[in-house]
């Protein structure tokens, strides 16, 4: 691998992001504007006479021709302005800061749980292929995947929240913690540690357990499947066979060669599954009353708040685009064969 080719690759890949983001912005803009329905009248909640609605629509510029609105919108985005919501005048950027912390907290912990469970079960199932361990592991993975996250979440609330009474069923922390915890980063765990407040930290962690586990388990199903297949495949790889031929103990072959190789693609998949994880996060947040961007999005969608939906959808998409970009770079760096 030469430095110039990697650089050239990186530049092409980066250059491709621009039209892609433009397409994304356009898609979202068009999607939100083609349908009838008007954010103003929804905001007025069916109280106002048509003339009042018309006047306000005009003042906010929603009666301008579509291409003018489109131009204004792109211009705003170019200047880093994702706009303000119509219903409650929040800057989309502040939504990302304030609610993004909650989503980050949820998805990071869910990923950790998914990875932990997925690796463990996947490795075992792949290693002890066609035994009952394999069947059990795979079935677990499939059932986990087959369970709608909201259904699992609700069962968890019912069992651990109501029947056993061990864990809180909703929210990111209890009302009092919420009232008194000082906000530094909007990621509550970090804020609690920052202030050295073990009580608040415990409260926050307690609230995190059910949502993160629910999302994590559903997400783990994918990893189990993937890790298992990779272990099986790498156990058949030439150099694993070669290692065996050299008389290296099977145990050692499995740990040193097969597992390690099976894990490399998993890292890639963690990134590529981000879209799926974020989708799952929307439902999890809805189920657990988790104040993340996903549940915020659902609210704005129902209010037909163009600006809010546009902004949040784009943020979701950008996160995925950037993640896949980073993964591509990492892969290109690691594996010189990968080039366009």
């Amino acid at each position: 691998m030469t430095g110039t080719s990697l650089k050239a690759y990186a530049l092409t890949r980066l250059a491709l992001v621009v039209p892609m983001v433009w397409i994304l912005l356009t898609l979202v803009f068009l999607l939100m504007r083609v349908a009838p329905g008007n954010p103003i009248s929804a905001a007025l909640g069916g109280h106002a006479a048509p003339s009042v609605i018309e006047a306000i629509t005009h003042r906010l510029g929603y009666d301008k021709p579509m291409y003018v609105q489109y131009g204004d919108y792109l211009w705003g985005v170019l200047h880093g302005d994702l706009g303000h919501t119509i219903t409650d005048r929040r800057a989309v950027s502040s939504i990302i800061v304030q609610n993004g912390g909650a989503t980050l907290e949820l998805t990071v912990f869910a990923s950790l749980i998914a990875l932990g469970v997925g690796l463990l079960v996947g490795l075992l199932a792949g290693r002890y292929r066609d035994t009952w361990l394999d069947v059990g592991g795979r079935l677990f993975g499939i059932v986990a995947y087959a369970t709608p996250v909201f259904f699992l979440g609700f069962l968890a609330q019912l069992v651990f929240g109501i029947w056993l009474g061990w864990l809180p069923t909703s929210g990111q922390d209890s009302p009092l913690t919420d009232a008194f915890l000082r906000i530094h980063t909007h990621i509550l765990i970090i804020d609690a540690i920052w202030d050295g407040d073990p009580g608040a930290l415990g409260d926050i962690l307690k609230h995190l357990i059910l949502p993160a586990t629910t999302l994590g388990i559903v997400y783990a199903g994918i990893f189990i499947r993937l890790v298992r297949v990779n272990v099986i495949r790498s156990l058949k790889d030439d150099y694993v066979e070669a290692a065996r031929a050299r008389g290296i103990r099977e145990r050692s072959v499995v740990y040193h060669y097969a597992f390690r190789n099976a894990l490399v693609p998993v890292v890639t998949v963690v990134g590529l599954q981000l879209a799926l994880l974020l989708g799952g996060a929307i439902l999890t947040e809805e189920t657990f009353n988790w104040p993340g961007i996903g549940s915020t999005l659902v609210t704005y969608l129902a209010d037909r708040d163009y600006a809010g939906v546009q902004g949040i959808v784009i943020v979701f998409a950008l996160v995925v685009v950037i993640a896949s970009l980073v993964i591509d770079f990492v892969n290109a760096f690691v594996d010189p064969r990968i080039r366009y």
Binding site: L44, A49, V52, R59, T87, Q98, G199
Partner: protein, 528 residues
């Protein structure tokens, strides 16, 4: 990986687990004295806390804590407008000009003095900003506001209105803000600190999560009976109910799903408080040309009357809502001055298939009549689906009608109302507790339903009602309007809600604030 490594890993994770357990076991509240802070939950949402930018129940609840109005309505039976920031409001030379004398010595939460300049400023900016989520449409009759010295304001109206004091009890610009803090031409963001004269100060607001209130040190009235309030926002009533039962919340003041309410009634941990409600649900029928254009038969009076004969009010109230709503036979909610059971008088208390058939037969209308009824599936609660399943069943049953149901989410649903939907569901919650607010928005010229109803007689009655000199004369007109509305049937009202609050047993004082104004006056509540 060697054996030793595994052992270290095991020991490490065991240590981590112990530490985590220790953290979890410590107090959840970080040592804060929580004894007298009230924890409330709601599924309502907040738009703009700035009084010029909201026209919804969830935000008004927040605003009542931090701002004051010139006049108040309630608590209890005291529903007529009475002084809050004003000491007296009176009409000057006819009903086109109203003046208010203001309370002296009132301070804002930041220490600024409250004067007539703040009142004028608040009304002016609400009209000027005309926010899409705002309430400026209630002030369309206000031409200008002038001050007369620091403690008197004068309102100049476009036309006479005897119920102007009632308008002053709403959140429409009568939530007085500090003119030194708020911008005159735009909304102050909800996350900026809000300055009002109310019993509390909003110390923290996290959109969609919570609002935290502490007592206002400069408050002019009696101190709140609790040492603070946290309102937590929920997405659905099921999760909120769980939080209430688990003791995370002290109380919730909200429209619970019918089944939730049943189980709360049974729960020993909480008490359900029920008061008279003023929210209603009704079915709008397009009339005249518009009905023909949309292909619904409700253009004919006989069809509308047949529908009125068949409306299954009892079934909806008992089966869908388990008695948590009561059948309503007029647009004006029961319990308000002037309410009469107009629909009961004209169409009977119970559905009558025979009478419906007779009225259609007399008008030579062929049956079954096929058309679509619209409802919105989540805005008025998920029970709307059940409600409309019942209506469909009741109408289809006798073979006179063949109904198809169609739904749209609120934002599309509310967009065009009667111009695209021939027959559709709506709900109403009054801006001020007066019969007028159940008539004027719906029947006379300029009504917002756009269902094509425009009756000269009704329009004349409106003018007569607004200009009525005495309360008695006004109520007489309101009754006439209700009878006329029931005869023409452009709308079929069918139920009226109750005001429901659910609280743990240690919360005191809830009954003192349950009245048709629907205001939860948290400052009257205490925790023991």
């Amino acid at each position: 990986m060697g054996r030793r490594k595994w052992r270290w890993l095991l020991a490490g994770s065991a240590a981590a687990a112990t530490a985590a357990a220790a953290v979890l076991a410590t107090s959840a509240y970080g040592g804060h004295k929580a004894s007298n802070i009230l924890l409330d939950g709601t599924t309502e949402t907040v738009t703009n806390i700035d009084p010029a930018g909201n026209y919804d129940y969830g935000t008004a609840t927040v605003d009542y804590m931090i701002f004051n109005r010139l006049l108040a309505a309630g608590p209890g039976k005291n529903l007529a407008p009475h002084p809050e920031l004003a000491t007296k409001c009176y009409s000057v030379g006819g009903l086109k000009t109203w003046a208010c004398n203001l309370r002296k010595g009132v301070k804002f939460s930041n220490g600024d003095a409250f004067t007539s300049a703040d009142v004028k400023f608040s009304f002016d900016r609400t009209i000027k900003i005309a926010d899409p989520s705002g309430i400026s449409s209630l002030l369309t009759n206000l031409k200008s506001t002038t001050t007369s010295g620091p403690y008197k304001v004068v309102f100049h109206l476009k036309h006479a209105q005897s119920t102007w004091p009632q308008v002053l009890t709403t959140t429409a610009g009568s939530m007085i803000v500090d003119h030194k803090v708020y911008p005159a031409d735009k909304i102050l963001p909800s996350t900026s600190s809000q300055v009002g004269t109310g019993p509390y100060v909003l110390t923290r607001y996290t959109p969609g999560v919570s609002a935290v209130f502490t007592p206002n040190p400069h408050y002019w009235g009696p101190k709140p009976k609790n040492s603070g309030l946290v309102i937590t926002y929920y997405k659905d009533s099921a999760t909120m109910k769980l939080a209430l039962q688990a003791g995370t919340l002290d109380m919730a003041f909200d429209a619970f799903a019918p089944t939730d309410l049943i189980s709360l009634h049974k729960s020993s941990a909480v008490k359900v408080y029920v008061g008279a409600g003023s929210g209603i649900r009704y079915l709008v029928l397009d009339v005249g040309k518009q009905a023909r254009k949309l292909g619904v038969p409700t253009g004919k009076l006989a069809v509308r009357q047949a529908l009125a004969y068949l409306m299954p009010r009892q079934t909806i109230a008992s089966r869908v809502y388990h008695g948590q709503v009561s059948p309503l036979y007029s647009m004006v909610a029961k319990g308000l001055p002037g309410h009469i059971d107009a629909f009961k008088t004209l169409y009977g208390a119970k559905p009558s298939l025979a009478k419906a058939r007779a009225v259609l037969k007399k008008a030579h209308i062929k049956t079954p009549l096929k058309f679509t009824i619209w409802y919105t599936p989540s805005h008025y609660g998920a029970a709307s689906a059940d409600e409309y399943a019942e209506i469909q069943r009741a109408l289809d049953k006798g073979g006179l009608f063949h109904i198809t149901l169609q739904t749209a989410e609120w934002s599309q649903y509310v967009n065009t109302l009667g111009t695209t939907k021939g027959v559709f569901q709506l709900g109403w919650f009054p801006d001020y507790v007066d019969g007028e607010d159940y008539i004027n928005p719906f029947y006379p010229k300029g009504q917002f339903l756009q269902n094509g109803y425009n009756d000269p007689k009704m329009n004349r009655l409106q003018i007569k009602e607004e200009g009525a000199k005495t309360a008695k004369a006004r109520i007489a007109v309101l009754k006439q309007e209700q009878m006329l509305a029931a005869r023409d049937v452009p709308i079929i009202p069918y139920w009226q809600n109750q005001m429901v609050a659910v609280a743990r047993k240690n919360v005191k004082g809830i009954t003192s604030t349950l009245d048709p104004t629907y205001i939860m006056r948290f400052w009257l509540l205490s925790k023991s």
